[in-house]
């Protein structure tokens, strides 16, 4: 054992002693036992005559005590500088973090909605579906553009034949005057293939109110409950026909001028 290692071990033993960790049976061999015995003697003043070693140990112990005082004082000072509200704030933040984590946990455990499940179900095939949808849209657009009548066809006389008079073998000649172009150009030869015609739906007949039907009049007399004549004369009589009796109220107007639409 060299001197350096002996010194280090002595310092450790001294620190242990200072911290109260050096017991009676903690050293078990050689120089360590002698150091422990020396420290105990120093502390217990069993060998007051060895002043040189005692002063050195006392100085080291004083240094250790000073360092402990400094460290503990600094920590206590820092602890005193932390206000109580700071602890409340820390606890609030901690509780919020706990609640946030619990909400995230609940959201993760909640069953997914229908749209989420549908999107999850479609997710693997979304690309093929998008392709098929785009292709279908294109086909629909092309089909509609191909099936729509163009403007040229709308003015085709064959198309409008149902609404305009035409001179064909199947139809009587029109009384319309021929156009200048028709007079200058000879009539073209009939087309070898019949042009398909677009049937023009006839306009629906205007709603007419059917006249109410009255059956053949039956014979019978009317019962006059009350009557007032305002003309010159008035007479109630019965007319006998071959089928029965009919009540007739004869009225004679005054001959004075009247404001009527039709003169009698």
């Amino acid at each position: 054992m060299n001197n350096q290692s002996i010194v280090t071990e002595f310092d450790e033993q001294l620190s242990a002693y200072f911290d109260g960790e050096l017991g009676d049976g903690s050293l078990d061999a050689g120089d360590a036992e002698s150091l422990g015995a020396t420290l105990r003697a120093l502390v217990n003043a069993e060998t007051p005559g060895d002043l040189d070693s005692d002063e050195e140990l006392a100085a080291k112990l004083a240094d250790l005590a000073f360092m402990r005082t400094m460290i503990v004082g600094a920590l206590e000072h820092q602890a005193e500088r932390v206000p109580e509200a700071r602890f409340e704030q820390v606890w609030d933040g901690f509780e919020q973090a706990l609640e946030r984590e619990s909400r995230l946990q609940e959201a993760a455990e909640a069953p997914p909605s229908v749209w989420q499940r549908l999107s999850e179900w479609i997710r693997p095939v979304r690309l093929p579906l998008a392709v098929v949808g785009a292709a279908g849209a294109l086909v629909l657009v092309f089909a509609r553009s191909a099936g729509a009548p163009n403007d040229v066809g709308a003015h085709d006389p064959a198309v409008a034949a149902n609404s305009q008079p035409s001179n064909t073998q199947d139809e009587p000649a029109s009384d319309a005057e021929p156009t200048a172009q028709a007079r200058t150009n000879p009539a073209p030869a009939p087309a070898p293939e019949p042009v398909p015609r677009v049937a023009v739906a006839p306009e629906p007949p205007s709603p007419e109110i059917a006249p109410e039907m009255y059956p053949q009049p039956e014979p019978g007399e009317a019962e006059i409950r009350r009557i007032e004549f305002g003309g010159r004369t008035g007479t109630i009589s019965q007319v006998e026909g071959t089928r029965g009796t009919t009540t007739v109220i004869w009225v004679t107007e005054d001959d004075g001028p009247v404001d009527s639409e039709r003169s009698l």
Binding site: Y214, P217, E223, I227, V239, S260, E261
Partner: protein, 172 residues
């Protein structure tokens, strides 16, 4: 026996809701229908009717006789009371759709106004009021009862010409 009892129970279980529903809703509905269908004193009368009035011009001078469109009146127009007229012309036909106690007024081409009001019903005949006017002159104001589809004539004479108003009314 057991099979019959089980069948009866199942039939009862199946028909019970339907019968309950029918009883709960059917009986009040039936009562309502019967109450509406049963004619009370105030509802015994007719609520609406229809009349058609033809205006026929009767001429003492002429040889036209009775045209085909007046065949339905021919039997009456051949009566001795109309023998002086040699020609008849249908000049107007107007329909009156009548509701109870509501006056319907139509003006004819002859210049006459005819007002008709349905007053009610008596012995399945229509009870009506009519006012025949020319301008502000009230020529006839009468309440009468006429059978459905029967004809009543009101000839209005002025000088040597006559307009015959032929009333024909019926239930709607």
């Amino acid at each position: 026996m057991t099979h019959r009892s089980t069948y009866s129970k199942s039939l009862a279980f199946s028909l019970a809701p339907a019968l309950t529903t029918a009883l709960v809703f059917g009986l009040p509905a039936l009562a309502g229908v019967l109450a509406l269908a049963t004619p009370s004193v105030s509802q015994a009368t007719v609520q609406d009717s229809a009349c058609r009035i033809h205006a026929v011009e009767a001429l003492e001078k002429g040889e036209g006789g009775i045209p085909a469109n007046l065949d339905f009146l021919a039997d009456r127009l051949r009566a001795p009371e109309f023998a002086r007229y040699r020609e008849f012309r249908l000049i107007d036909t107007l329909d009156f759709k009548l509701e109870l106690n509501k006056v319907v007024d139509h003006k004819f081409k002859s210049g006459h106004n005819v007002e008709l009001t349905l007053l009610g019903e008596k012995d399945s005949k229509l009870e009506l009021n009519t006012k025949l006017k020319r301008g502000s002159s009230n020529l006839v104001d009468m309440d009468f009862v006429v059978g459905s589809n029967q004809i009543m004539l009101i000839p209005v004479r002025r000088g040597d010409q006559t307009i015959i108003f032929a009333y024909q009314c019926k239930h709607r």
